[in-house]
């Protein structure tokens, strides 16, 4: 009887753990963190860019174009990444913090055109010269760095090299934006819009430092001396002297969860108003006729006086309303 042929032991495949270990060893972590950092900062700038537009164009109006524009800039950055690298080389990464430091100054000049640009062109044009290029460059550079750091082609093949960064950067961007927005909403007021802009620019410089940062100095100098959107006492004084030409005085301005809150007074027309971003929350008339002594100050919005008319509604059964002193109200 012939003996069954002896089975030869199959060649042992290299254990998966070995493979993972070798891939992990091949990752250039320094570069990886730098790449992810650039993407995270670009994501964190998204709510900040929107916040800087809202006092000028309104929160709702400036949010319309923000997301589609961002998506377009991100996709352009992804597809132009090789071209940008050929064109600018390492300078592409080094230009990002410089641009970030210039954004407040570029915005300062573009906001001067806000009356003629209006909505919806204003927010689009402003973003086109500020946040969108920053996002485009950040995505392009970040993807190149991550591809290099992970060595995706050698480790996982060409397909992974193209698609992993595309999907990965999108997911990371969305998460980064949410995380940043959470922190911004917690610290807005303590840190202003401009403060966040400079903070992110500073973090960009730490992530990709270079001598090119010297180019940011003129903008920084301008920001601290003449940019009226910066909340310093001397920049507020510059703002007030400009407003006084139009007959207004800025009494206070603060930044808060619902927007940029400012108190303005018009001596000539005799009223004081509170604004949240570009909208008027309300106010009261200070100058009234000589023989007119209202019990409460007249609101600048007639609707507030109309709302008080709830006191005058008679109950259906013809009973009398409770006197004011025994009534209570909820105003929201």
């Amino acid at each position: 009887m012939a003996r069954p042929p002896q089975r030869r032991p199959a060649p042992q495949p290299p254990p998966t753990t070995e493979k993972v270990r070798s891939i992990l060893a091949s990752i250039k972590y320094d570069a990886l963190w730098r790449g992810l950092g650039l993407l995270f900062l670009a994501a964190a700038y998204s709510p900040v860019a929107h916040l800087t537009l809202s006092p000028v164009y309104g929160s709702t109006a400036s949010s319309f174009s923000h997301r589609p524009g961002m998506l377009a800039a991100g996709i352009c950055g992804y597809f132009l990444k090789d071209r940008i690298q050929r064109l600018l080389g390492r300078r592409a990464a080094h230009l990002i913090p410089v641009l970030a430091f210039w954004i407040p100054t570029i915005q300062f000049f573009l906001f001067k055109l806000s009356s003629s640009l209006g909505n919806p062109a204003g927010p689009v044009v402003t973003d086109l010269f500020t946040y969108y290029p920053l996002l485009l460059l950040s995505v392009a550079v970040s993807v190149k760095i991550v591809q290099y750091a992970l060595d995706l082609r050698t480790n996982f093949g060409e397909l992974a090299e193209e698609h992993v960064p595309f999907v990965g950067s999108y997911v990371l961007f969305i998460i980064g934006e949410k995380v940043a927005n959470f922190f911004i909403m917690r610290f807005i007021g303590t840190i202003t819009r401009c403060g966040f802009q400079l903070l992110i620019a500073a973090l960009y410089s730490v992530t990709v430092p270079s001598k090119l940062l010297l180019l940011a100095l003129p903008s920084l100098l301008f920001s601290f001396t003449a940019n009226v959107h910066m909340p310093f006492s001397h920049t507020t004084a510059v703002l007030n002297s400009a407003l006084q030409e139009h007959g207004y005085t800025l009494l206070d301005r603060r930044e808060s969860v619902t927007g940029y809150i400012s108190i303005l007074e018009s001596e000539k027309q005799g009223f004081r108003a509170m604004r949240c971003d570009h909208s008027l929350l309300g106010g009261e008339w200070n100058t009234v006729g000589r023989n007119y002594h209202p019990a409460v100050k007249d609101p600048i919005y007639a609707v507030f006086a109309m709302l008080e008319a709830v006191r005058l509604v008679k109950p259906e059964e013809g009973e009398h309303r409770r006197p004011d002193e025994e009534s209570n109200a909820l105003v929201m």
Partner: protein, 112 residues
């Protein structure tokens, strides 16, 4: 105002603070710095919910009306905080073609 014991619900602490600093906000009020949705939810779930003679519903964010303050649930919550002979005033932007308009008018009728 007019000696009425008023509860003010305001989401933004700075708006409230500046209203006190720069405007003639009457003293006899209770300020609640909270999202109106949360306030109404909390108030209605109390064992004895507070009841008001007047409710003034005037809310805007960024020049628009926040949708969550115009839902059936929210407005029903307000109704349960209103005394039987109470009066509610709702401020709306005049957008007659807005799909919300019909549902809101319906609610106002229901509340009568």
């Amino acid at each position: 105002m007019h000696g009425i014991d008023t509860t003010i619900v305001e989401i933004d602490p700075v708006v409230y603070q500046l209203a006190r600093e720069y405007f003639h906000l009457p003293a006899n009020h209770t300020a609640v710095i909270e999202d109106a949705v949360k306030f109404v939810k909390k108030a209605t779930s109390k064992p004895v919910p507070p009841k008001y003679d007047y409710i003034v519903h005037d809310v805007f964010t960024g020049g628009a009306e926040p949708i969550e303050l115009f839902t059936v649930e929210f407005l029903e919550g307000l109704k349960s905080l209103l005394k039987n002979d109470g009066v509610i005033a709702i401020v709306r932007l005049p957008f007659p073609i807005h799909p919300l308009h019909n549902s809101i008018s319906l609610n106002q009728t229901n509340m009568k």
